[in-house]
């Protein structure tokens, strides 16, 4: 559904966004060229990837990593770099 665009006087000071629904609608994963692939077998559940991911794209359930949210993952590779168990590998996105 199209939202009505707001005028400048209706906007929050400092361009902060507290309407997280709007943030969710912007799927920032669209321009990824590398894709992190998580390996459940190797993962030690240390949660470092979850702490370091700048886009909150590590999916967690009951305190455990269960996968990666490719709608928002931008493929920066920080999770793969920080992972002590080499449980995340970066692969080329297929066109």
């Amino acid at each position: 559904m199209a939202r009505k665009l707001k005028g400048w006087q209706e906007l929050p000071c400092g361009a902060i966004i507290s309407d997280l629904q709007a943030v969710k609608e912007n799927k920032t994963g669209a321009w990824r060229s590398l894709r992190p692939v998580w390996n459940n077998e190797k993962c030690r559940q240390c949660l470092l990837c979850w702490i370091y991911c700048p886009d909150s794209a590590i999916l967690i359930q009951d305190g455990k990593v269960v996968g990666i949210d490719y709608d928002y993952c931008k493929g920066c590779g920080i999770c793969a770099g920080i992972c002590p168990a080499k449980a995340i590998e970066m692969e080329k996105e297929k066109k």
Binding site: W8, A15, I17, V23
Partner: protein, 384 residues
């Protein structure tokens, strides 16, 4: 307390009394001592500040932005190339409306390399959305740094407080300091606009906005700068009432019935006061208009003040390299353009790279402005 302090010492002392939550900085002449002395206060446990020594000025401003986005009171200091290296982050700090306060010991920009005072650094940052204060004395620098914290936090805008490099930063003056408690009471606690670490109310800071919203956010930032002037006036009044030292945004010194005035920012105001006193003693009708706030540009105050004088010299301690006169000159001529009767306005560039600007130089400029005749668009005072 009455103390003898250089500009840098006075600003470091003010920072100690302000006791900011976070200071992130990288040293650069002539501002190095501000942070160096402040780090002593940190080491001696005299402040509660989290001190972040970083690897560059770009990182310094980045760290300041991060800390300020968490609603903390944040300060730094720099000069010249350091301010230039921060350039990218200055716009971000202002766009996010973060009240970071930065002391600048004004210095020229390379090349050629020069460590001495002129206004190239701050003036080159004039469109970044920071409030800018230019101080005439060490006392004014000390007082202004304290006021700037309150102004920035009320206006939700970052602020530069500039003292002329070496001329003020390294020269000792007798200053009257305030009690630590008085400073803290005057400032109170910051009331941040938002706090990134408030996980109960999650927010996104620094979003991407495209053709649909960028313009509106900029428009709102511009309004913030416009509304900063009443905030500045309010806080300066408050400071004046509490501590007996009041600094008007724009000061007219011996301007009654003046035929010629100079518009000046920074330490050269003091030099011009001497020249004005001498010339007045000789019966010449001259005065000084001291501009203390460069951003926001106080165009209404400037217009009302300057409309009264037939001849005006505008003094720029920086050149805009083949612009139509110095940076302040072009703004002042624009401000005066819609007056029915426009005064004569002359552009002077002086003091680049710390070149001495003496009362005799100021007298020469006054004589020329009084004569009402000047052939060249810009006169470079004291250049060989």
């Amino acid at each position: 307390m009455i103390l003898a302090k250089t500009g840098n010492e006075a600003l470091a002392y003010a920072m100690k009394q302000i006791n900011p939550d976070v200071v992130a900085a990288y040293p650069i002449t002539p501002s190095t001592e501000i942070v160096q002395l402040f780090s002593n206060y940190v080491a001696d446990g005299e402040v509660d500040t989290e001190f972040v020594p970083v690897e560059s000025e770009h990182s310094a401003m980045t760290a300041c932005i991060g800390a300020a986005a968490c609603g903390r009171r944040v300060m730094t200091a720099t000069a010249s190339q350091g301010l230039a290296l921060m350039h990218e982050m200055l716009f971000i700090a202002a766009g996010l409306r973060l009240p970071i306060v930065m002391a600048v010991a004004s210095r020229s920009l390379s090349s050629p390399l020069n460590i001495h005072g002129d206004h190239s650094d701050s003036v080159a940052s004039r469109d970044s959305g920071w409030l800018q204060f230019f101080c005439e004395t060490v006392q004014e620098g000390y007082d202004t740094l304290i006021m700037a914290v309150k102004i920035a936090e009320r206006a939700y805008l970052p602020a530069i407080v500039a003292i002329d490099g070496f001329i003020l930063s390294h020269c000792q003056e007798r200053i009257e300091t305030l009690e630590d408690r008085a400073v803290r009471e005057f400032l109170g606690q910051p009331k941040p606009n938002y706090n990134l670490l408030d996980w109960r109310n999650p927010i996104l800071v620094g979003p991407a906005t495209l053709q649909d919203y960028y313009f509106e956010f900029k428009r709102s930032e511009i309004e913030g700068m416009r509304r900063a002037l009443p905030v500045i006036e309010e806080v300066q009044q408050e400071f004046g009432q509490r501590f007996g030292r009041y600094y008007p945004v724009l000061e007219e010194y011996r301007c009654e019935d003046a035929e010629a005035v100079l518009v000046v920012m920074g330490s050269a105001c003091g030099t011009c006061r001497v020249a004005v006193d001498q010339l007045r003693a000789e019966g010449r009708k001259v005065g000084l208009v001291k501009l203390r706030v460069f951003r926001p540009l106080v165009h209404n105050l400037l217009r009302t003040s300057l409309a009264k004088f037939p001849k005006i010299g505008v003094m720029d301690r920086v050149d805009a390299v083949n612009s139509y006169g110095g940076p302040l000159f072009t703004e002042i001529t624009s401000v005066l353009y819609d007056l029915p009767e426009r005064p004569k306005v002359f552009s002077y560039v002086y003091g680049l790279g710390g070149r001495e600007f003496s009362p005799e130089d100021a007298r020469m400029v006054y004589e020329q402005v009084l004569s009402g005749k000047k052939d060249e668009l810009v006169t470079y005072v004291g250049v060989r």
